[in-house]
């Protein structure tokens, strides 16, 4: 027994010693860093140099647009140019990075705008990693002078994508309902603008009431609902030609149209008696397919980005809730279940272009909230709440939501944007009151991932 115990003790001791050596020889555990607070990246954006003296204004304009874009994204903190130590005089020469480290810049943008002999505008830019002294991106573009803002948006997307690893969303447009006049006789017109509020253009004259405009995947067409003489109808509007056509000729009212991801179909709700059900119409054959058949109100359908599923709003359970079903119809699964307020209702679901979330409007507790939820019904998160928030629409990269907020009273609605994490809520500038925003896809595809 003694021997056994001795052997056991000896064995265990040796094992421990051996283990200790093994532990000592083993690579040390990894140190872990998880920042607890999000901080925007300090970035220095220098004025784009003019290729000729007459290009100074456009150079400064491009710089301002890029600065504004990156700042509004909430991910970057452009450094005030007054703090710059070095003045860039030639973008083809590497900057003195120590000068930019001194002002805590992590990235530096330099550029040049040059008018070409053929009248076009040449835009060049470089994105530098100040810390490593390496060039992260460098591109040049040619365009007509009047499109200088769009060039600025494209460059912004390049910077955003290179720094974050995600596609940008700056080279995109927003269609919305512009509202003017007194509240009892409000004139509502379809309007389109750049995502930063510039270049507002009106698509209708306001003779008829328009609602729920939505972009086609190619950004060339808009579908919307119009209250003309008689029942409201769904229309297609071509942005380039200005022509419009009615989508189908149904006996009842048609609501809430939205394009399929391939742009070949329009899904909408059609009122029949006291109910409304979902229908999809093939734009080529003009054939219509019924997707739901319930004694309830099914409306606000939205496709998943891969086109295989649909989320929509239905009151088949008593109160409006969000359901998900296959794109061809069939059994629907309810995904919205309010934990804090059983009387809450969910509406206006929109599937993210990334497919990871569905945005919604939640009404409960006397407030309207904008939130997101995963398609399986988990991870619900409210991003903003207030008297009246409604109509969320995703940015092309799925990182930002735009919605409209109506404070009530004599005022009118305005557009706001918020990061899907709930941070960085900003008012979107519009000429007047604005509602029902719809974000277009990215107009130009930047470099592939």
């Amino acid at each position: 027994m003694n021997r056994r115990r001795f052997m056991t003790l000896t064995g265990s001791t040796l094992a421990m010693l051996g283990g200790g050596r093994a532990f000592a020889q083993q690579a040390q555990p990894r140190l872990r860093i998880d920042p607890t607070e999000f901080q925007p990246v300090p970035i220095a954006i220098t004025n784009f140099l003019p290729g000729s003296p007459s290009d100074g204004d456009v150079g400064n304009g491009v710089t301002q647009v890029i600065t504004n874009n990156l700042k509004r994204s909430g991910l970057f903190a452009p450094i005030d140019q007054a703090a710059f130590i070095e003045r860039i005089s030639n973008i083809d020469v590497a900057p003195q990075f120590q000068n930019w480290k001194t002002i805590n810049a992590q990235a530096l943008v330099t550029g040049r705008m040059t008018r070409q002999p053929d009248g076009r505008l040449k835009a060049e830019f470089r994105l530098w990693d100040v810390v490593s002294g390496q060039q992260l991106a460098g591109q040049q573009y040619f365009t007509s002078p009047e499109y200088w803002r769009r060039i600025a948006h494209i460059i912004s997307d390049q910077i955003y994508e290179r720094m974050t690893g995600e596609k940008g969303y700056f080279d995109s447009r927003v269609v919305f309902v512009d509202e003017t006049g007194p509240k009892e006789r409000r004139v509502k017109r379809l309007a389109i603008m750049d995502q930063d509020g510039a270049n507002v253009r009106y698509l209708t004259r306001g003779a008829e009431l328009v609602l729920t405009p939505r972009f086609s995947p190619n950004s060339q067409e808009i579908t919307y609902m119009e209250f003309g003489q008689g029942d409201p109808k769904v229309y297609l509007y071509n942005i380039e030609t200005g022509q419009r056509e009615i989508v189908g000729n149904f006996p009842g009212m048609t609501f809430a149209p939205r394009f399929s991801p391939d742009g070949q179909r329009v899904i909408m709700s059609l009122q029949q008696g006291g109910n409304s059900n979902l229908f999809v119409m093939d734009l080529r054959s003009r054939s219509t397919t019924r997707l739901t058949d319930t004694p309830a109100i099914d409306t606000s359908p939205s496709y998943s980005p891969d086109g295989t599923r649909i989320c929509f709003e239905s009151d088949r359970g008593g109160r409006p809730q969000i359901y998900v079903m296959a794109a061809g119809g069939g059994a629907a699964q309810r995904i919205s279940f309010s934990k804090d307020d059983t009387n809450a209702s969910y509406s206006t679901p929109v599937w993210s272009p990334r497919g990871d979330y569905i945005a919604f409007t939640k009404q409960g507790g006397g407030q309207f909230s904008i939130g997101v939820i995963k398609p399986d019904g988990t991870g619900e998160r409210l991003l903003t709440s207030g008297y009246h928030n409604e109509g969320p629409t995703f940015s092309p990269n799925g990182r930002v939501l735009m919605f409209f907020r109506d404070p009530g009273g004599a005022g009118g609605p305005s557009l706001f944007s918020v990061d899907i994490s709930g941070r960085n809520e900003l008012k979107v500038p519009t000429p007047g009151f604005a509602s029902d925003p719809a974000w277009s896809p990215l107009l130009s595809s930047t470099s592939g991932q």
Partner: protein, 317 residues
């Protein structure tokens, strides 16, 4: 009935009993000791937090003990007086206006309040100077205060009317307007008590107890390094799936605390590779930007010659 008993058998049994009994006692006690010895080994190797607590948190608790022993010596006070005089000269030259007024304003504001509750006024005045003056010398300041009270303020003890008079006296004194006196008092304690107790009683007072492992504690530089890099780490992603992104980066270090070469991205994880790569680049920028890490202990260079780190975003949600 007689039973023949073999004496040798009895002796043999007795001896066996003795031997077995001795063996049980001795071996059982050894067996009881053995597992205790193995316990600390497990604790040390399992979690480095134990080292951190031994090096830092307990350090503050150990401080008061040696200082109490030191107070028993009378001589240091004499030395302290000498040091105080030397620093008075310095104070006269460095009489900065801003710092002194602040500490003085507070007592002035509080003093107008106490007059109503007369009895409470006294105790409030006494603790205030103690709080402003260095924490460690808790008992020494009392001795000094007592000496001062004996020399300067013998009368305050008398009844209530005199107490009220004493309370009103500080107001006319208006310490805020005479910052030099306050600086002298503060400097006396800061310079004399701190240094004396620290150098004579506890050589590693700032690091912890003398029995701790602070000096050779690997966890100490690990924590400091983490904090230094974290300060510069500004990832550009804060989506709701941020917790799924991680980047493993190895950092080759020089003995002077600078980078021996560019940080090496060992692996990146996350739903989107491009985003994960951006997280890794952001981490690399942080590592390079925050160098030189001159606080790294040179005698432990072997332990941080190559620092493996993982950068994640799980706490950003």
């Amino acid at each position: 009935m007689k039973v023949n008993v073999d004496k040798t058998l009895v002796a043999s049994i007795a001896l066996h009993v003795l031997v077995i009994g001795w063996g049980l006692v001795t071996f059982s006690s050894r067996a009881f000791v053995a597992p205790e010895e193995s316990l600390p080994i497990d604790i040390i190797s399992s979690d480095q937090l134990a080292q951190i607590t031994a090096g830092q948190k307990t350090g503050e608790k150990d401080k008061p003990k040696p200082k109490v022993e030191k107070i028993a010596e009378a001589k240091p006070e004499e030395d302290a007086v000498g040091k105080v005089t030397e620093k008075k000269e310095l104070i006269k030259t460095n009489s900065t206006p801003e710092p002194p007024p602040k500490p003085v304003e507070k007592p002035v504001e509080k003093k107008p309040e106490p007059p109503k509750p007369v009895a409470e006024a006294k105790p409030k005045e006494e603790p205030k100077p103690q709080e402003k003056k260095p924490d460690p010398a808790k008992e020494d300041p009392i001795a000094e205060l007592q000496k001062k009270l004996e020399t300067k303020k013998p009368p305050p003890k008398p009844p209530e009317p005199k107490v009220a008079a004493v309370q009103q006296q500080p107001k006319p004194k208006e310490r805020p307007f005479d910052p030099a006196q306050i600086q002298r008092e503060l400097d006396k304690r800061a310079t004399t008590r701190h240094e004396l107790t620290g150098t004579t009683m506890n050589a590693s007072a700032s690091l912890g107890s003398t029995t701790g492992t602070a000096v050779t504690n690997v966890a100490t530089w690990r924590g400091a390094f983490q904090g230094a890099v974290k300060r510069c780490f500004t990832p550009t992603y804060n989506g709701q799936d941020a917790d799924q992104y991680e980047a493993d980066i190895d950092i080759p270090m020089k003995i002077d605390g600078s980078l021996a070469s560019e940080p090496i991205v060992v692996a990146v994880r996350g739903p989107s590779r491009s985003i994960a790569q951006a997280v890794a680049e952001s981490a690399k920028r942080a590592i390079v930007q925050c160098q030189v890490y001159s606080f790294m202990p040179k005698q432990q260079y072997d332990s941080w010659k190559l620092i493996p780190m993982t950068f994640g975003l799980k706490d950003m949600l």
